[in-house]
Amino acid sequence: MRSPLALYATLDRLEQKGLLVSRLEEGTPVRGGRVRRFYQMTADGVKALNEAKAALDRMWRGTKWPVEVKA
């Protein structure tokens, strides 16, 4: 994992939009006992994920892979 912190802002935004919910659980010794935050998708989040996947599929449909550069 190159930069774990890059995820935090995104997760925060998704949670604010109601696509995720989070809960805290007790930390392990390797974390110095500090809490760990777990995220779970809401029903709206699952719906948004499916829509995003469908949009991506539509975008790639008919595209020959790998994409080649025309000279």
Partner: protein, 219 residues
């Protein structure tokens, strides 16, 4: 077994720059990553550099989120207020405007306007965003114009008060997008109009290069 940890001062900096909600989770994630992945792979020195980069990125992410920006803008206003008081005292004692102080205040305005523009992550309607953005642009332009004008015009009566109003309006911008913020944006635009009016009312005969030169000419 004593586990190796990043330097204490870096961990304290991290707790200062991270928000209260995620403070413990973020420091725990980083500590776990540091001990489990980075330290065995990179060794102590480079792992500490990795940790430092993470702390910096937390600060930047938070800054771009607008929370620290508000504190930054408030700090700017504090400096401007202090400069205004100092300028007022100098004015009453020496009976002439303090160009350096006026320059300081106007530079604050430039910085504040640019910072407001740079860090905009506004929520709310497009009308609201357009209004506040226009206000920030106005503040930045006014500050720049004022700095240039300081070098040309001798008198600045009313400028300090006007600068303070502009700074106060910018300070009251809430990045959440309420009606009060729209009024603040309106205040910024009003400052622009006021600046233009003051500039237009300046008389040619008052154009001395500096107050000192004006005094010399009078004597």
């Amino acid at each position: 077994m004593i586990r190796e940890s990043p330097p204490d001062w870096l961990q304290k900096v991290l707790s200062l720059v991270s928000n209260a909600r995620d403070r413990e989770a973020i420091s725990g994630d980083l500590l776990e990553e540091y001990r489990e992945e980075q330290l065995p792979r990179l060794g102590s020195g480079r792992a500490t550099c990795w940790y430092l980069r993470q702390v910096i990125s937390v600060a930047l992410i938070r800054l771009s989120g607008g929370r620290l920006v508000k504190q930054f803008l408030q700090l700017m206003c504090l400096f401007a207020a202090a400069a205004g008081v100092w300028l007022g005292v100098m004015e009453s004692i020496l009976q002439h405007p303090g160009y350096a102080g006026r320059m300081v205040i106007d530079v604050f305005i430039v910085v504040q306007g640019l910072a407001t523009l740079f860090f905009f992550r506004l929520k709310g309607s497009s009308f609201y965003r357009a209004g506040v953005t226009a206000g920030a642009i106005a503040v930045a332009l006014l500050g720049g114009m004022a700095v240039v004008r300081i070098l040309q015009a001798p008198h600045f009566e009313g400028f300090v008060l006007n600068d303070w109003f502009a700074l106060d309006s910018a300070r009251r911008i809430d990045f959440g997008g309420s009606g009060t913020d729209a009024l603040s944006a309106l205040g910024l635009v009003t400052q622009a109009a006021y600046r233009v009016r003051v500039r237009d009312s300046e008389k040619p005969e008052q154009d001395c290069a500096t107050t000192t030169l004006c005094v010399v000419r009078e004597t």
